[in-house]
Symmetry: C2
Subunit: 197 residues, 2 copies
């Protein structure tokens, strides 16, 4: 039961769609309005200007993807925690809405200072923080070799990010993601073999 979308949300969704394809500059107010089915001037009843639309979208990008309840307990299970993490990451990579937001992120990252700062902070201090916490617990439990948990977390996350990037690129051109999709789990296995005691 999708609830009735109000115009403001329609504008946001149309803008995400267009920016994900043509970037912020390419997503003109006119195109956004046309996609919604209104005149361009009507946009300004909902947003002060074009940039306000982008700001709203950016704030949607960084709604935390991962929130593990009972992190400490799950972390003690070692490998299965990493698998759970990877499966969650994979789901997000293939989620339609999240994928569009990921494209917006990648396109505007080099052109928008606020987005860059959010990326460097949020992306790190949310996913990596949780992951490093879990890795630290695994070290304490003697499940994995010791080391800097933050660094290890990045080692674990970076390949996932790279796979996600490839998935996103392949899907734009409607190419098969089957070969690459299995790499998520393969990475978790490889990483576990690398650090397990």
């Amino acid at each position: 039961m999708p609830k009735q979308k109000n115009t403001k949300q329609k504008i946001i969704d149309a803008a995400i769609e267009l920016i994900a394809k043509q970037g912020y500059r390419g997503a003109s107010v006119r195109k956004i309005a046309a996609a919604v089915g209104i005149r361009e001037s009507a946009i300004y009843n909902h947003f002060r200007n074009k940039e306000e639309i982008l700001k709203q979208i950016i704030s949607e990008i960084f709604v935390t993807p991962f929130e593990f309840k009972d992190l400490e307990e799950k972390a003690k299970k070692g490998k299965s925690f990493l698998h759970q993490f990877v499966v969650a990451y994979k789901l997000i990579s293939f989620d339609k809405k999240k994928e569009k937001l990921f494209r917006v992120l990648m396109i505007e990252l080099f052109q928008n200072k606020g987005l860059r700062e959010s990326f460097l902070q949020e992306f790190h201090q949310k996913d990596i923080q949780q992951l490093s916490k879990a890795l630290f617990i695994m070290m304490q439990e003697g499940l994995i070799r010791s080391g800097d948990p933050m660094f290890m977390a990045q080692e674990f996350l970076a390949p996932l990010f790279y796979i996600r990037l490839q998935v996103s690129l392949l899907r734009i051109d409607s190419k098969s993601t089957a070969p690459i999709a299995t790499q998520f789990e393969k990475h978790a296995d490889f990483f576990w073999e690398s650090v397990a005691l």
Copy 2:
């Protein structure tokens, strides 16, 4: 002794600079011309249209960065080969011209189909091919544990790519890259510990 640049090269350089900051759409023919010091119409004496400039730049992005002579011999040295690779990668990450081209790549990757295809092919079939060849030799020599060399090559390269991305983002805003810069070598060490027999 930088040789005298001709106008065509000046146009390319100005375009790279502008596209790296504002994207292809934001880099108008007028701005490019102004940066060179000519009128916009004069651009068309050197390029049929704006897109031709971008095509030229894209072709510059994929000039192979790594060509290891005596790959087989070097690969037999195991860890020191990986370190050499990482140092080369790091140098490229901090090279001014290469960094600008990297930004152009990242900005346009989601908006330019030709660029996407080059990225998925060249980026893979050059760096990864060589790396996997080296890893295969290391396996034969009994230096590292066995596995799919292509997959392992990607596992090695992906974190380097992610670090490079972060370096690039930090440098746009003139932030310190000191903490992140050491991660290149740390990654090589971590990877070696992960696979070494």
